[in-house]
Symmetry: D2
Subunit: 285 residues, 4 copies
């Protein structure tokens, strides 16, 4: 049954009757709702909605459905998308040397727990080539120095184009992307930062956490914005530590949290559960 499922997602200024008109449209077109979420943000006046539905027998074909929804979308000034669940997003994973996040993402994709294609992995180091090979995934070693940064990003963007990439996941890619790169892929780059933001931005967050003696350490998955470690937060999690943990042990303990948080954020993004809401996100889990 899942194979026919379609997902509609939209955001627009909040107004009386949006749910009525969207649900009324689906009823009329024979769309049986499996799951539906909506949220009106009273502070910004924005409205968000996501609906999973199955076309009943006799329902119009996909493209026709899109066409017929247009008048409603226009009336409410919606930003909207309609997808078939079978269309798997195409995801590029970027890494440096540490493989815990990459390893989990590859395994989850293989087990179909993350419904995505991974056409390529990009790294500024060669270390994780063997892991990529183990999962039969193309690995591009694109090294990087301060002089060659611009060039390297062009190579990455060429791969993005070539492979029609929908999402870039920075799975502990320890490089700062240029503003122009970020601009080009706005809302399409997810990073994992190894702290509970807004605490401990920048380098060596576990060492910062150790110095302060916090009793929980965490990780944050967020969309990349032009300001380092400040993009809209998608997911966060923490785990308990105590005074006995050295900074090196915090690094190790934190890796499990990073792995889980990043995988959740990617899952929700590719299931179209995440909406940008100014500097924040709406996540229909």
């Amino acid at each position: 049954m899942k194979i026919f499922t379609q997902i509609g997602s939209l955001s627009c200024p909040d107004k009386l009757g949006i749910v009525a008109d969207v649900a009324g449209f689906l009823k009329q077109e024979g769309g049986f709702i499996l799951e539906s979420n909506q949220f009106g943000d009273v502070t910004t006046g924005n409205f968000f909605m996501r609906t999973e539905f199955i076309p009943q027998a006799g329902a119009p074909p996909f493209d026709s459905l899109k066409e017929r929804f247009k008048p409603i979308a226009d009336y409410f000034q919606m930003q909207w998308e309609l997808h078939r669940l079978t269309e798997k997003p195409r995801v590029m994973i970027m890494v440096s040397c540490l493989g815990h996040c990459l390893n989990a993402l590859l395994n989850k994709a293989q087990m179909n727990n993350l419904q995505m294609e991974i056409p390529c992995i990009v790294s500024n180091h060669p270390d994780l080539k063997t892991m990529a090979n183990g999962y039969q995934t193309p690995f591009h070693h694109l090294p990087l120095s301060s002089e060659t940064k611009e060039q390297q990003e062009e190579q990455v963007l060429a791969l993005v184009e070539e492979h029609r990439i929908d999402l870039i996941v920075l799975a502990r890619y320890m490089q700062i992307l240029s503003p122009s790169f970020v601009e080009k892929m706005k809302g399409k780059i997810i990073n994992i930062h190894h702290s509970f933001l807004p605490s401990f931005k920048g380098a060596k967050p576990y060492h910062q956490a150790h110095n302060l003696g916090v009793k929980l350490i965490g990780a944050t998955a967020h969309y990349v914005s032009e300001i380092l470690d400040e993009g809209p937060i998608i997911e966060q999690e923490v785990t308990r530590v105590d005074h006995t943990a050295s900074p090196e042990e915090l690094v190790t303990i934190g890796q499990d949290i990073e792995t889980i948080v990043l995988a959740r954020a990617v899952k929700w993004h590719i299931e179209r559960r995440v909406f940008l809401n100014g500097a924040k996100t709406v996540v229909f889990r």
Copy 2:
């Protein structure tokens, strides 16, 4: 704005068009949706929906709204209710000797974190009378022996009638209610059991947990059914313990979890977020 808010909740056999018709009705009647949740259970074929909305200027009065919704309700064979947020449910709390749950519930009601009236507290022991007095809440000491159980329950039911009680909360009331009492108040009694059910039903669950050496202990809030500790689960939570904790320490550690779990379940019930779904619940958090 909250003071005008109305909450509609319904369940019925799942079918094409329920959301459309409910949302369409609200649009037509000038009801602006603040929050809406729905869930169709594919295993049982039941559908559940809860909507918070604000009547716009010119919307029909409350009673008229109810009348006008009837045809839709009838068509879909709905069990349904419509409430004003200002109608506070009337809650009887039953306790024995331990006051941690009662103490939290009284405080939360006083701080308006739980929007409910507490017309009376009932106990089979006198110990918590002082606490009830501290919160200016009437306390009925109704002692109980195996011979007087029937009589005592009649006294409780008389109080239920007198005070038009909507919900009974067993806040560590260490007595088993008779099947006829439970039957009369079906779906209107919430109990807190001091284990993570289905583990450790019955007496002394923390001692059972200690004997087995579990690494987390928990608590479960559930509706009371005719079978001990088996009613539909509303909420559960756990906390970490280790080998050093004696059974007595587990009792103490667990009290915080019991307090939180029970308060959450009561909150969700009185906000009409909990639906019975066979032997389980649907909770729109």
Copy 3:
């Protein structure tokens, strides 16, 4: 058995043989160890130890034991204390208008889950007098303006002296204490801050959290130092929230976390499980 228990706690520069000499001393004096924890901090070179033990039949009296331990303490340059578990610390609780933390502390003290005396409660507002009365605890309303701050703090210090206060707990006391007050009670004031520090210091942390869209909110119990919200952290906890929670709802949700975190910190302090280690703490849970 617990009633004879004694607790020794010490810190000193780390060195070969500390555990050997302390444990050897206890063996010789007939002290049966119930629980013992030690920690050597390799970054600072400090060593910390806490031991609960029971004097066996024939063991020397308490004061004599202290006398006989002095040579070992002197040799290792220890800061140390020896307590009987029956000596309950005397705790002053300071509050403003919000009573959730006070309510829990009073209840836990009454149920003997927190082994402490509460000779008095101090507040700059009269609101919580009824709650204090309900628990038969003296309540001092000492109002405060920018002009009278110095005077008011002197009144508080007079109460500290009169009641031989060992610990001040700021249970949502929404005032900043003067540096001289803090200096006088160094390491003896525990505050609860309603955020997961170091994030969201200062005023309205839940509003700050809402603005940023974090996915978990938290609370931090810490010793008060001269810099606002920067003293050594004793305990932290978080809870999950999402985009639907308004700042006001975050305030309410957070209160449970504040209550638990503060109660744990107070418990560990009065059980002498917390040691200052520079700007951090060592907590033997």
Copy 4:
């Protein structure tokens, strides 16, 4: 510094002076204590101790240290072991078709987060051979039917002998080991069960959880005993779910918990932090 670290672990009937004599011995032999934990179980009268220490300059060689400790061990009737941290335990991993646990264990071993050798992987199915190859680890496909079970277990035991295996990890090996196999490897087999035991023993625990409508699902790592899913529990963890999750989604959500719980249990075992205490464990985390 870590490379010289030695770990002593012991258990014996509790008695006055054990810590004193062990710590006194280490002091005399020049062993600088890095970390030390002890626990006396008042219900069973057993005492447990684990100490990490570094031999100072001039300390006796490892084998000589063992010899010199014997008199103390004999006096207190200790079961004891002394290890160098550099001796990596040799671990066999057994799997069936699901690779999430294996994938994490292999990655953690490769990143040196789990300090162990993995001389071989054994499976009754061929599916995970590619994953094993990706980590350059020998994979033995030993299929199994009810007729060939005895034979297959003999093959496994032959591998255990050949590779001098210290620990078998059942990483979702969906077979029940025979009592004689379990007896031979007592205390040396760790299993991950995909429920929060004692709830939902046996087959399809996530389906059982779904039927009951629990609000948290969990996983349990335990030593294998002759009774299915009843051996001493090493570690447990849970995660929140709600009414929307189908049994299949519970399976997927639970895999992250299984992975983490099993990895923690293996880590603590190989760091010699886990002690059997009757039907329970003592874990010095």
